[in-house]
Symmetry: C2
Subunit: 465 residues, 2 copies
C-alpha cells in the first residue's frame, strides 16, 4: 500500500538520531557508521545505543532507546538480525517514528529472515512508524551533511537525488562523480520504497534531477503515475538491473520483491517520460549532461574533427543514436575554406587538419567552433579533441579554445570526445567549465546528445498536452 | 592487383631514409617528422631533402634525392601536393623502391587530387616501386625505434601490429595503451593496402596479435583469404568504421575506395575468424585481453561480488554476452558458507559482503578467489572490486589479494570490474600483473570474457577442420 505522507523528511533531515548496536570499534576497516557520520559533519544530536559501553566516539552511550529521555527523530539499527525485531518494537515503544534497518538477512535471505521482516513491518504499520530497509546503507544528505552510510561519500551539494536498491550505487554514484546531493538506499524496501523516495525528491527544492537504480518494483502503477508528473519538471534517469531471466530471478531473491519482465518495465518507463539507461557506465554521464548542458532543440549536429577517420566514426555514432549531420550554412563552410588548402572538400564533419597545418590547432579550432555555434543550421556540436602528454605536446590540447567559446554560447550543447594518452589530466582542463562534458568514446559523446534530444522532445510533447 | 611480394620490410625496417620537403622549423607545434624520428631513436641514416637548407636538425641537407649519392631504402615525401608527383618520379629515377607519401589532398580530395594519385601509382607500378599513402602518418616500428609519424608515440616493444587508415588510430591506439609494437597507416591505400600490411604482420615473428582499423576495403576476397590463414595463429581484431549509410559514403570519399555494406563486411570477417568490434573504445581492452589472458575453455563463469546488486548486474552482462553462471562445486560453496552468517543463501554470484563484515575484505576475497580458481565447474572468473580513495580507505582495495592468487592460477581468465572514486590509481595496482585486466563497467568485463570465448571456439573449430 502506498500512503499519502511519506515522512521521508525524518530520514533525510533528522535533528537527532539513535544508533542502535553501534560498535566501540572505529577506524579503518571497522565500517563504523557513527564515526562516518561524525566525520561527515552532522550537526544534530547522536545517541549511541550499546548496553556494553558508557561512551562511544565521545558521545554518552545508552543501554536502550528508552534510556535516552530525549526526542529521537530517527533510529538506525545495526544489530545482528536476531535482535532487530525486538529493537524495532522498542523504538516504536519509545515513540520513534522513523527507523533505518541497516542489517542484512531478511527478505534478502531465508524463510526466517522473511518472517522477521514481515513482523517488523506489521508492528511499524500498526503504529504509524516508517521503516527504511532492511539491508540498506540508509541515506545521505549533503545539504545538511547527514549520512547513515558506513562507506566514504562525496560531499558536494549537487542538485541530484539518487534512489537505489544497493550500496553499490549509493557509494558508486556518489563517489564516481560527486554528483549526488541526496541519496536514499531503499534496500529491501519492506515499507518505504521507490514511491516514497521519489515523492520526497520530486518535491525537494534542492533536487533538480533524479537518478534511480532499480532491481525490482512493487506497485508499478502508482510509481509510474507519480513519476510521469514529476518528470515534467525534473529529469528522471533509470538504470534497471535484473534484465536477463536469471538476473530477474536473482533480483527477486535479493530483495524479496518481484522483478518482472524487463522489456515491459522499460517500455512503461519510457512511456512515462523517464530516461532509461542500457549500461552501468552511463549514469554519471547522463546526470552531468542533463544538469549542465542546454537543451538540444533539433537533430542537426555539427562535427569538428582533426581526422577524416574520426569524422566517419562521428557520422556512424550520430546516425546510430538517431541524430543527423547538419547541412552547414555557407558562412560556416566559408570560414573553414578560407583557412584550408583549396583542394579540401569542406562539409560536415568539418575536418580541420589541413587548416591546422597552415594556421595552428588552437586558432583554427576556436574559429571553427565559433562559426558552428552561430550557424542557424546547427542544433548541437560534437568536438573531437586530443589529450596529449604534457608539457611537450601541450600544443595539441584545445581545452582553452573550448573554454573561450562554449560558456558564451549557451544555446547549443557541446559534447567532447577526448582521446589520447592523457585523458584524465586533460579532461580536468576541459571540465573547468561545467557545460563542457568530456567522453572517452565517440559513441558516448553521440549518446549524450541523443539523451538531451529525448529529454527535449518529451518536454515539448508534454507542453502541448 | 595484389602482388606476391609486399616489400613492406623496406617501409618498416629501412637502413636509410630520405625525407623530402622537410621543414627547417622544429619544436612544439611544428609537426616535424624528422625531429620526431630522431627523438624516437632511429639509428639508420637520415637524408633531409630541402633545396633551401644546408643542414636540418644536425644532418646535411640535399637539394634532391639525386644529390645524396648513397643508397636510400625509403623516401618520405611531405611536399605540398602539387610537387608530389614530380618528386615520386625523381625517387623512382634515383632507384628508390619504397615511398611514403604523407601529404593529403589526393584520392581524399578533389578530381585533381585523384588524377595526381593515379599518375603516381602508374609511375610506381611501371618501375616496381611501392607507395604507402598518400594521406598517411606512415609507419612505426618500436623494435628498431623507427617512425615516420610527426605525432608522439609510445615506444613499448609490444607484440601487437596495427593496421589503420588514419592517424587517429595510429596515434590513438599507440598512445592509449602503449600496446602497439608495429603500425602501418595505409592512408588512401593507393598501392600498398590492407593485404600487404596484413601479410607483413602475419609473417612477422615479433607480432602476435593484429589490430585493424578499416574504413573501406578493396579486393575483399584475397584479404579475407589471407586473414583466414593468419588468424589460425594470430588473433585479428577489426574495428570497421563507415557503418552507417552516410558514414560509408564519407569513408568512400575520404580514401577514394568503396566502403561497401557494413553487415556484409561484418559477416564475412566473422566467418573468416576475425574478431569484429562494435565500438571505438574496445580496441585497447580487446588487445590486452587476447594478449595477456589464458583461453576461456567453457562458458561457465564464477562471479565474486561485494554487493547483491553487483551480482545481478553481472548476471545480466554475462547472459547478454552469451556466457553462463557456473554451478559452483560443493567445496566452493562450503568455503564461503563457512565464513558467512548461516542465513546467507550461497550461490553464484558469490556475495562475500556478509562474510567480509565478520572476517575482513582482503582475507575473504583471497580465500574465495582461490576456491573458484580450483573449482572444476568454473571456466572463468569475474571479480567486482572497489577503487577507494587512498590512504584512508586502503582497506577496501583487494588488488593485493588478486595479485597473490591470479598469477599462480594461469588456467582461467579473470576479468575485473573496478568501480569507485579512484579507478585510475587503483587500476595500476591491479595491473602490476599483466594477466589482471581492469574494466570500468561490468559490461566491458563480461564482454572481454566473451571475446576470449569466441577466440577459443574458433581455434577449436579450426583444429578439427
Amino acid at each position: 500500500m502506498v500512503r499519502e505522507n511519506s515522512e521521508m523528511k525524518y530520514f533525510l533531515e533528522p535533528k537527532s538520531v539513535a544508533i542502535i548496536g553501534i560498535s566501540r570499534r572505529s577506524g579503518p576497516g571497522s565500517y563504523n557508521l557513527m564515526e562516518n557520520m561524525i566525520q561527515y559533519g552532522y550537526e544534530g544530536e547522536i545517541f549511541p545505543i550499546n548496553p556494553k559501553a558508557n561512551e562511544i566516539l565521545g558521545a554518552k552511550a545508552y543501554p536502550s532507546v528508552n534510556d535516552v529521555g530525549r526526542k529521537i527523530d530517527l533510529a538506525i539499527i545495526t544489530l545482528p538480525r536476531d535482535l532487530v525485531v525486538k529493537s524495532v518494537k522498542e523504538c516504536i515503544g519509545a515513540g520513534i517514528k522513523a527507523i533505518i534497518v541497516v542489517t542484512q538477512g531478511f527478505g534478502d535471505a531465508d524463510a526466517q529472515g522473511r518472517a522477521f521482516q514481515n513482523e517488523m513491518v506489521a508492528a511499524a504499520r500498526r503504529n504509524g512508524v516508517r521503516i527504511l530497509g532492511p539491508n540498506t546503507l540508509g541515506v545521505v544528505n549533503n545539504f545538511n551533511r547527514f549520512t547513515t552510510s558506513f562507506m566514504p561519500l562525496n560531499r558536494e551539494k549537487a542538485p541530484v537525488g539518487l534512489i537505489c536498491q544497493s550500496g553499490i550505487f549509493f557509494v558508486g554514484a556518489a563517489v564516481f562523480s560527486g554528483l549526488i546531493g541526496k541519496g536514499i538506499d531503499i534496500g529491501n524496501g519492506c515499507d518505504l520504497g521507490f514511491y516514497e523516495a521519489l515523492e520526497y525528491l520530486g518535491e525537494d527544492p534542492e533536487t533538480k534531477i533524479i537518478a534511480i537504480h532499480m532491481e525490482a518494483l512493487e506497485h508499478t502503477e502508482p510509481f509510474l503515475s507519480l513519476a510521469s508528473r514529476i518528470v515534467r519538471k525534473k529529469a528522471i534517469v533509470v538504470l534497471k538491473t535484473g534484465k536477463s531471466k536469471t538476473g530477474a530471478r536473482a533480483a527477486a531473491s535479493h530483495t524479496g520483491a518481484m522483478a518482472g519482465h524487463y522489456e515491459i518495465y522499460r517500455a512503461a518507463m519510457k512511456q512515462a517520460g523517464l530516461l532509461v539507461l542500457d549500461e552501468d557506465g552511463q549514469m554519471n554521464d547522463a546526470v552531468k549532461t542533463l544538469l549542465y548542458q542546454p537543451p538540444l532543440k533539433g537533430d542537426r549536429i555539427a562535427v569538428i574533427t582533426v581526422t577524416g577517420a574520426g569524422g566517419i566514426m562521428a557520422i556512424d555514432a550520430l546516425e546510430q543514436h538517431g541524430l543527423e549531420m547538419a547541412a552547414l550554412s555557407e558562412s560556416t563552410i566559408r570560414t573553414l575554406a578560407d583557412l584550408s588548402p583549396e583542394w579540401l572538400p569542406i562539409g560536415n564533419p568539418l575536418d580541420i587538419w589541413p587548416a591546422v597545418m597552415k594556421h595552428g590547432l588552437k586558432n583554427v579550432y576556436q574559429t571553427v567552433l565559433e562559426a558552428v555555434s552561430e550557424d542557424p543550421n546547427v542544433d548541437g556540436i560534437l568536438c573531437m579533441c586530443i589529450a596529449p602528454n604534457l608539457p611537450d605536446f601541450d600544443f595539441l590540447d584545445v581545452s582553452h579554445a573550448l573554454n573561450q567559446v562554449v560558456p558564451g554560447k549557451k544555446e547549443k550543447p557541446v559534447a567532447v570526445w577526448l582521446y589520447g594518452p592523457n585523458v584524465e589530466e586533460i579532461a580536468k582542463r576541459f571540465e573547468k567549465k561545467k557545460n563542457i562534458i568530456v567522453h572517452q568514446t565517440i559513441e558516448k559523446a553521440a549518446w549524450s546528445l541523443s539523451l538531451l534530444r529525448k529529454r527535449q522532445l518529451f518536454l515539448e510533447k508534454a507542453q502541448v498536452q
